[in-house]
Amino acid sequence: MRFLPHTDTDRSAMLEAMGASSIRDLFADIPAEFQLERGSLGLEPALSEAAIVRKFTRASEKNRNATNSRYFLGGGTYHHFVPAVVDYVISRGEFLTAYTPYQPEISQGTLQALFEFQTMIARLTGMDVSNASMYEAATATAEAALMARRVTRKSRVVMAGSVNPRYRSVTANYLSRLEGEYTEVDMGGFGTDLSKVIAAIDETTACVIVQYPDFYGSVYDLAPLRAACDAAKCLMVVAFSDISAFALIESPGAMGADIAVGSGQALGIPMGFGGPHLGLFACKQKHLRQMPGRVCGLTTDVNGKRGFVLTLSTREQHIRREKATSNICSNQGLMCTAAATYMTLMGEAGLEKVARHSAAALQMLVTKLPAHVTAPLDARYNETVLSFSDQAARDRFLATARSEDIFAGIPLEQIEPGAGANHLLVATTEMVEESDIADFIAALEVAK
């Protein structure tokens, strides 16, 4: 077996050194009734490496993918370009096969990359500090609610209905096992009505969670909410699903967020059928010690040289156990390195171009829509909702588009079960070409 270095000679010699006669002697502490006969599990026969490649290649070819299709799917996961450099960096064994950097002397590579990642995430989101990742956006949103409770020592969580339904349901699920009230504010349309959210705030409120741009791609001014949160002494939590937006539009921090959480998948991480992605968590400096997850901090070594360590670990489960700020341990470390590499390669100007092209593609698409399809006309970043006369009209279009290898959008009710079945959530990135939009529009005309 190619991953096992021992020959039978090795095994015998080692056993002999120990005075054991067979490997199963070493399992004498496991009651015999529980010991399996070798090879008795109901698994497939072992595959050679070539056979594994063949098996996965065949499976891969059963799927249609974004490299051989026109792509308009979003809803929290986006087909942005992944530069080859990013994949190369995270494929290097020194990053890929390292453990959590608890031994900083021989982990400065991971640690410096984390420090750079935290800095860039803080700058892009406009926040003071960032942690070293959460799993993904939905659980990060739940953790933000929990953190707000710790910070404010209040318990009510108000959630705008225009937050991604998956972030909402995971947050609701997390909170439902704990003390304290959780309220969702129904929005009515495909955007965010802050007055409804503000009306839901009371003095027991720990935080208000909104998404910006919201689940429907809408961009709006958070100033009224900031004022309302100040008045009620609660935290304003801003979730986001495509961080690329903040190279173009005002950041959550500039809008006054106390905590910003969301997905960093746009930063050089492939869609991968839903993961591994990258959960981001950033907050104001003053709330730092209530933040969940690992953080990397600057320090010096005994020679006075600058170095980095994981720090503030007294917040964490391996020290604080049941009193920890979270139970999170393994996070998305490698994706932080990917995102740091991506942002370094892009720089401010490149990030802005990605965002501009993503938004320009949506604008071009919306402008060209035929009359039988409607879309909101207010500020949207790279995502919006197209509405058809009825489900049949929409599904006719989807079928036409699929026959042209266009993934034209996500039926809204697939993510938001309560939605009518005549809507389509449509997203664009810099990977959408003008000709793709023309084909999209042509399919709309054909399926009219």
Partner: protein, 479 residues
């Protein structure tokens, strides 16, 4: 050689990259929200970016550069073919909301993994959704709680956790709204049946246990333990962090465990990545099966389906069906071993740990006698009298070319050193490591205390001031 922070590189960012897509206008409505302050993300050219991160990588120890005997972390070789196959375009570049018929290949591989994990653990109902081990713990406890609630026993909120447990256990219980009660370990480091009995009562929801435990010892009373908990109306949660000792040799489900998470980034060799991503599938028996989270992957006829809604389910615990790329690697790992070889994982892992224990036990204090499983526990008791602590031994190992073992865990012994060699290390490497450990013991006895306190001297940085870092945290770069 030193490598500055990317913010310190001595020039402005080069011009923006050429970008595909629509180089057109954005809407005036959106333009009204234009960002006012620059992001101040410096940006380097591609040659500089590559050199920056390649140089950083050179300061890291990884499984590919050397031995990594971290107890309870299972740092084994990560096959390169797994990295290759998960990057196939039909697996890497698909969206979680594509129509099911366009992703049958991916669903097929995931479904197969579910079946295999069920078979390997003896707990046939599986969710791949949890993103990591701790997440799996939370999900498992949510299911246990849902099951107890369904039985009308909403009073059961007490979770018994041995004092040797991973810190995530109590933290996960707290996050699930449950109260932890710590069980004091017996003199042999194992669960003390009397201690267990004394805490079992009508409020007990579950026992969370790790088997083999974090001292590397198998809980031989496992059948009785499970029976006691079940008789008291509770359920048994297994922390699968140490599954590498059992895979292919024995199944937690057969022993009475009701629910177990599996750290695929340990047992099934998905890379640790400097902290993650991991994967924490949860496997359960019939009792808990109705409560599995959604979405679930099911096979209906010849079609694979994602089930998004189910009445009894605890609901979604992640924004997607799981860390799919990590799961695909686990499928590839199991595929390579197959029915014929899978047991060799545990066999060689246990052989290696016992061999290390055998070679070191005369010179390092062994707190608990007997066989170990996939990891062995030592302490610094013999070295303490020379003024040398576990931390010094760990740091000295760095100078000798090895990553240190896990230190100061488990908490039930003083100055713990927990060594896990895994099945993918050769005898040659184990001998070199043991030789290094014995050399340190010699140096200790020879009074080379100062040298040991000064270690490490070879790596890029020497001992770092963690107190300074925590007291005045600097988490982002300020120009």
């Amino acid at each position: 050689h030193e490598e500055p922070l990317l913010f310190e590189h001595a020039h402005d960012a080069p011009e923006a990259l050429n970008m595909p897509g629509v180089d057109g206008d954005i809407s005036p409505e959106l333009a009204a929200f234009a960002r006012k302050r620059p992001t101040n993300i410096p940006g380097l050219s591609e040659p500089e970016t590559v050199r920056h991160f390649v140089r950083l990588s050179q300061w890291n120890h990884g499984i590919e550069t050397g031995f990594y005997p971290l107890g309870s972390c299972t740092m084994k070789y990560n096959p390169r073919v797994n990295e290759q196959v998960v990057r196939l375009p039909g697996l890497a570049h698909i969206h979680p909301d594509q129509p099911e018929e366009s992703v049958q290949g991916a669903l097929e591989l995931l479904y197969e993994l579910q079946q295999w994990l069920g078979e390997i653990s003896g707990l046939p109902h599986v969710t791949l959704q949890p993103a990591a081990g701790a997440h799996g713990e939370l999900v498992g406890l949510m299911m246990i709680r849902a099951c107890l609630d369904a039985r009308g026993e909403s009073n059961r909120r007490k979770v018994l956790v041995p004092d040797s447990a991973h810190g995530t256990n109590p933290a996960s219980a707290a996050l699930c709204g449950m109260q932890t009660v710590e069980l004091k370990s017996g003199a042999d480091g194992r669960i003390d049946l009397d201690e267990l009995k004394a805490h079992l009562d009508g409020d007990t929801a579950a026992l969370m246990m790790t088997n083999p435990n974090t001292a590397g010892a198998f809980e031989s009373d496992i059948r009785e333990i499970c029976q006691l908990v079940h008789d008291a109306g509770g359920l048994v949660y297994g922390d699968g962090a140490n599954l590498n000792a059992l895979v292919g040799v024995a199944r937690p489900g057969d022993m009475g465990i009701d629910c177990l998470h599996i750290n695929v980034h340990k047992t099934f060799s998905t890379p640790h990545g400097g902290g993650g991503p991991g994967g924490g599938p949860v496997v359960v028996n019939e009792t808990l099966a109705p409560y599995l989270p959604v979405p679930r992957i099911e096979k209906q006829g010849s079609q694979y389906k994602l089930i998004h809604h189910d009445q009894q389910s605890i609901g979604p615990v992640l924004g997607s069906a799981g860390q799919i790329g990590v799961m695909l690697r686990a499928n590839a790992y199991i595929s390579a071993f197959g029915r014929e070889h899978l047991h060799k994982i545990a066999e060689d892992a246990v052989l290696n740990a016992n061999y290390v224990l055998h070679r070191l036990k005369e010179r390092y204090h062994v707190p608990f006698e007997g066989l170990c499983k996939h990891e062995c526990l030592l302490t610094d008791e013999y070295q303490n009298s020379h003024g040398v602590k576990t931390l010094d031994i760990a740091k000295r190992l760095i100078d000798l070319g090895f990553h240190p073992m896990t230190v100061y865990f488990p908490l039930i012994v003083h100055g713990a050193m927990l060594i896990e060699p895994t099945e993918t290390e050769s005898r040659e490497t184990l001998d070199a490591f043991c030789d290094a450990m014995l050399e340190i013991a010699d140096q200790c006895e020879a009074g080379e205390t100062e040298m040991l306190h000064d270690a490490p001297v070879k790596p890029f940085r020497r001992r770092l001031d963690e107190t300074q870092a925590a007291r005045k945290p600097v988490l982002v770069w300020q120009e």
